[in-house]
């Protein structure tokens, strides 16, 4: 009953508290190294995670540090490590930098870590809410910008409404099994067999609604474009990467555990996946705001990810986990590049105004292009390898039609992803008042995510092995 498995979470929380307390009351511009602390906290947490790899620790009967949770925790923490410097630089531009921001970032990351580390629905619920509450606030962080607040409101209400359903699902599971632990539920359901009627599947369906909303799968996606667009870009990046990763991890855990509930949920997810990729891609095509485009794109990406969940098995889960890893880097790279392309004094999110910027701004240009190519699934990027294995696992399980739909969707998506590259490198230059100079806080994350996108695309082996290990330790 040691609490070692909780160490990464505790590190984050402690750091958050330190920042919140230390930074409280200090005026803006006061030199309190909150970003540095946050980054350090995340780094220590990463180290803690790495230290626990391979030990399969369990804390207090509810939190596991198995390979699965550590893999996802590391993903979240990587996102955090990338987010913090970008936040420092981009928020400073908008005069929104506050210690509280990092504190919130760390607290919601702590929620994410818990979310992916538990087999217990109660923990999952509380963690989900922790994560959400933090992100709601972060979304509205630019409280002087109406769009930020509107995004926050929409996100919040949609989330509250959806989590009620999610909770209802937990309650139903509890009613029929007397347990809120995935293993306990599974055991009870196995024992009672079919005489419970439809309530268990209702419970599962309601849980799926909760996850589907969180990962922004169609038809529970509608908050996402608005929230992504309105939130400060760095928050959007964090949201798109970390929140999705964490929620997806939990979804994998749940669908991987409740196997007695038949195969109906696969059919449901099949439809959800197809809808997600199709709708996401179709809507992304007509966007001009990069954040909104990426929002729809990430809806489509969720569709692809779900292919792995539907395929199931070790292969499917490995593929999904690996894709999540790749997705994190490529998506973060895209958002960071969008920030880096900002003009002096304002964000510059309309793709149309990016004509020729790829040549004048090589690093953001290359990073954005690589992200786009990777999201489109072009080889030598991680997006390709990821899709390859996602679809491969589905083909292996006989989901040919699903894969066909998915690859055709990939084709549609190429159109808008390439459009970004096209504007960057082939568009006519648009006159503008000069760009914001790039600091290290953006350069490094850009470099890291670009490198990761390519390196993971060329040498997927080691990361794939980790993902496989994680998939094996899901149970």
């Amino acid at each position: 009953m040691g609490a070692a498995a909780l160490v990464p979470v505790l590190i984050l929380v402690t750091t958050a508290v330190v920042i919140a307390v230390g930074g409280a009351g200090r005026a803006v511009g006061d030199r309190f190294p909150s970003a540095g602390l946050a980054w350090l906290g995340a780094l220590v947490s990463v180290l803690a995670c790495l230290r626990m790899w391979g030990h399969r620790l369990r804390a207090l009967g509810m939190v596991d540090a198995d390979a699965f949770s550590l893999f996802l925790s590391l993903l979240v923490l990587f996102a955090l490590l990338l987010t913090v410097p970008v936040a420092k630089e981009s928020l400073a531009r908008q005069k929104l930098e506050q210690p509280a921001f990092y504190s919130l970032l760390l607290l919601s990351a702590a929620g994410m870590l818990l979310l992916v580390s538990s087999r217990h629905l109660v923990v999952i619920f509380v963690a989900l809410e922790t994560m959400s509450v933090g992100v709601y606030a972060l979304t509205g962080w630019a409280r002087d910008r109406i769009s930020s607040l509107e995004a926050s409101v929409k996100y919040f209400f949609y989330g509250a409404f959806a989590s009620a359903f999610f909770l209802y699902g937990i309650a139903f599971f509890y009613v029929v099994s007397g347990s809120t632990d995935l293993a306990g539920i599974e055991a009870a359901l196995l024992a009672r067999g079919h005489d419970l009627g439809a309530l268990p599947v209702v419970a599962l369906a309601l849980l799926l609604v909760g996850f589907a909303y969180k990962i922004a799968a169609v038809p529970f996606h509608m908050w996402a474009p608005d929230a992504y667009q309105g939130a400060p870009t760095v928050v959007t990046a964090f949201m798109a990467v970390a929140v999705k990763t964490a929620a997806f991890g939990a979804l994998l855990r749940v669908t991987g555990s409740l196997l007695t509930l038949g195969e109906e949920w696969r059919a449901v997810l099949w439809v959800v996946a197809v809808l997600s990729m199709t709708l996401g891609n179709l809507l992304a095509i007509v966007q001009d705001d990069i954040k909104r485009l990426l929002a729809y794109s990430s809806i489509a990406q969720v569709g692809y990810l779900l292919v792995g969940v539907i395929a199931g098995g070790v292969a499917g889960r490995t593929a999904a986990l690996f894709y999540l890893l790749g997705y994190s880097f490529m998506t973060f790279g895209a958002f960071a590049a969008a920030i880096a392309l900002g003009r002096r004094g304002e964000e510059n999110l309309s793709i149309r105004s990016w004509g020729g910027l790829g040549w004048t701004h090589p690093l953001p240009g290359v990073a954005m292009s690589l992200s786009m190519l990777s999201l489109a699934g072009i080889p030598t990027t991680v997006g390709f390898v990821g899709k390859f294995y996602l679809f491969g696992s589905a083909v292996g399980e006989g989901y040919i039609a699903l894969v066909l739909i998915a690859v055709i969707n990939t084709l549609v998506s190429v159109y808008y992803y390439l459009r970004v590259v096209m504007v960057l490198y082939m568009g006519a230059p648009v006159p503008h008042p000069g760009m914001h100079p790039l600091g290290l806080g953006l350069r490094l994350p850009l470099l890291v995510s670009s490198l990761a996108t390519v390196v993971l695309g060329i040498l997927p082996g080691p990361a794939m092995a980790l993902a496989r290990r994680a998939a094996l330790e899901l149970f």
Partner: protein, 495 residues
């Protein structure tokens, strides 16, 4: 790491160097030329080391890549790929030279992309691991997309995206096929692998073969391109910079035919057999259709593009004749087309450099001031229309010979394309080169410069060589092609 790996890595290393050299004005193109020449030397070395007597893959190199997934860096060469590799190595330096003056902006990126492209094309022809192949196959699109989109003509963006989407449209279907084969391999042997040689042992039902063949075929057919999936080609050609067109026509299209030879047919012979009549029909339609359309094109590049559609129809016809002569003819035609069409694009580029137009109606009487150019142009045209003694004839003849043995009506219909080729090419020559100089802008144009002569001379020599002594290029094919034909359903059309 052996020779084959170097063929892939040297241009890649070159592209990095070129990319870095951007701040010194003339270095990118010099470096690019040197690196591409080094690759040419390596390719020549490969030819020297190649043993024509051996039918199997040679100089095979294998590196562990992602063993748990059955992916390896597996490369090898046989008769089919040998000359395509040589062609790639040959055309790249020429493309660099062809861009020497005409590319003035962003030269470092341009030449770097050209070298990346070379590396990837080498990879396509070398890969024996299907995953590796697919990686190269798809990745080729990116540098080409950029070459067209950044350095292309007026409608370059439309053309670039069209090129990308078309070709990717086919290859995603192929991807599904690959995944399915991989799954079969996993199930049947218990060891996941992408090794092409192992895949040939897969057991498949007739139905499965048909579907898989279609999936692979979709990927390759668009690249070739086979009618009616060809409409990306004219646009891409017209808008691409000269070097882009050269490589596109010279090598990229061949990748499709190569894919058929290397993958689609040998892996799914029964599937191939089912669709042979349909494919032959499409090939013949392509031959005639491409030729007829080439006849009425107002733009030189567009004309050459449609002529490619026609010529590649012969290649497909030859492949699906499943006859040694036919397949060798198809391979020969691929090489010959690479040279002659490459030269045509280069020369159209030279005209463009002088006149800044490619519209046939703006030209005329160029021979007066450019006699040497006109002479070389004519030789290339004659080769393209299959005049005996030049490279084009041998390929076309062998293709027709092969097709005539297994599918006579198709061969006869295809032979009509030979007539049409003469019509559209000579008509074009007449309108561009001959006649009075009506537009003063066409007078007093400089004839071939030394650099331009250096580009064209090797091509002309090869065209003659291939026409007069085709044995040099046919003999190394024998073993490989016989192996290929032995795997195809004999008498595919007898039923």
């Amino acid at each position: 790491m052996g020779l084959l790996t170097f063929l892939i890595l040297v241009p890649l290393a070159g592209s990095v160097m070129v990319g870095i050299s951007g701040r010194w004005a003339h270095w990118p193109r010099r470096l690019a030329l040197s690196f591409s020449l080094v690759v040419l030397v390596l390719a020549a070395l490969l030819w020297a080391r190649f043993d024509p007597a051996q039918a199997e893959y040679q100089l095979v190199e294998s590196l562990r890549w992602a063993p748990s997934l059955g992916i390896s860096f597996l490369v090898g060469v046989d008769g089919m790929s040998l000359f395509l590799l040589l062609l790639t190595a040959f055309l790249t330096p020429l493309s660099v030279l062809a861009s020497w003056e005409s590319i003035q902006e962003k030269t470092a990126a341009y030449y770097a992309l050209l070298l990346v492209l070379e590396s990837l094309m080498m990879g396509v022809f070398l890969a024996l691991d299907v995953f590796l192949f697919y990686v190269f196959w798809e990745a080729v699109l990116v540098p080409m997309y950029l070459l067209i989109g950044v350095w292309g003509g007026e409608r370059r963006i439309y053309a670039a995206i069209k090129f990308f989407l078309f070709t990717m449209g086919g290859s995603v279907l192929m991807l599904v096929g690959i995944l399915f084969c991989y799954h079969l391999q996993d199930v049947q042997t218990g060891a996941p692998s992408f090794d092409l040689r192992l895949w040939q042992g897969l057991v498949m039902s007739q139905d499965t073969q048909q579907w898989l063949f279609l999936a692979f075929f979709a990927g390759f057919a668009i690249k070739i391109p086979i009618f009616p999936l060809h409409t990306w080609l004219p646009d891409a050609h017209v808008e691409a910079p000269t070097a882009g067109s050269v490589i596109l026509a010279g090598i990229l299209l061949k990748m499709g035919a190569y894919g058929l030879l290397r993958f689609a047919v040998p892996l799914f012979p029964e599937g191939a057999r089912t669709f042979t009549p349909a494919i032959l029909t499409l090939a013949v339609i392509g031959i005639l259709y491409g030729a007829l359309l080439a006849m009425v094109q107002p733009d030189l590049k567009r004309l050459v593009a449609y002529s490619s559609v026609s010529h590649l129809g012969f290649v497909v016809l030859g492949i699906f004749s499943f006859d040694v002569a036919g397949v060798e003819g198809a391979l020969f035609q691929m090489l010959s087309h690479g040279l002659s069409t490459g030269a045509l694009f280069i020369m159209v580029g030279m005209i463009y450099d002088r006149r800044h137009t490619r519209a046939i109606e703006d030209l005329g009487g160029l021979k007066k001031s450019m006699p040497r150019f006109a002479g070389v142009f004519l030789i290339v045209l004659l080769s393209s229309m299959g005049l005996p003694g030049l490279s084009g004839f041998v390929g076309e003849f062998l293709v027709l010979l092969g097709a005539f043995q297994t599918a006579p009506p198709f061969a006869v219909a295809a032979a009509l394309g030979v007539i049409l080729a003469a019509i559209y090419l000579l008509w074009m020559y007449k309108r561009v080169m001959l006649g009075e100089v009506k537009n003063p802008a066409n007078d007093h144009l400089p004839d071939l410069s030394r650099r331009e002569g250096m580009i064209l001379l090797p091509i002309v020599i090869l065209i003659l060589w291939m026409g007069v002594a085709p044995g040099t290029f046919l003999r190394p094919l024998d073993g490989t092609v016989e192996r290929f034909v032995s795997r195809t359903p004999s008498g595919a059309l007898e039923e």
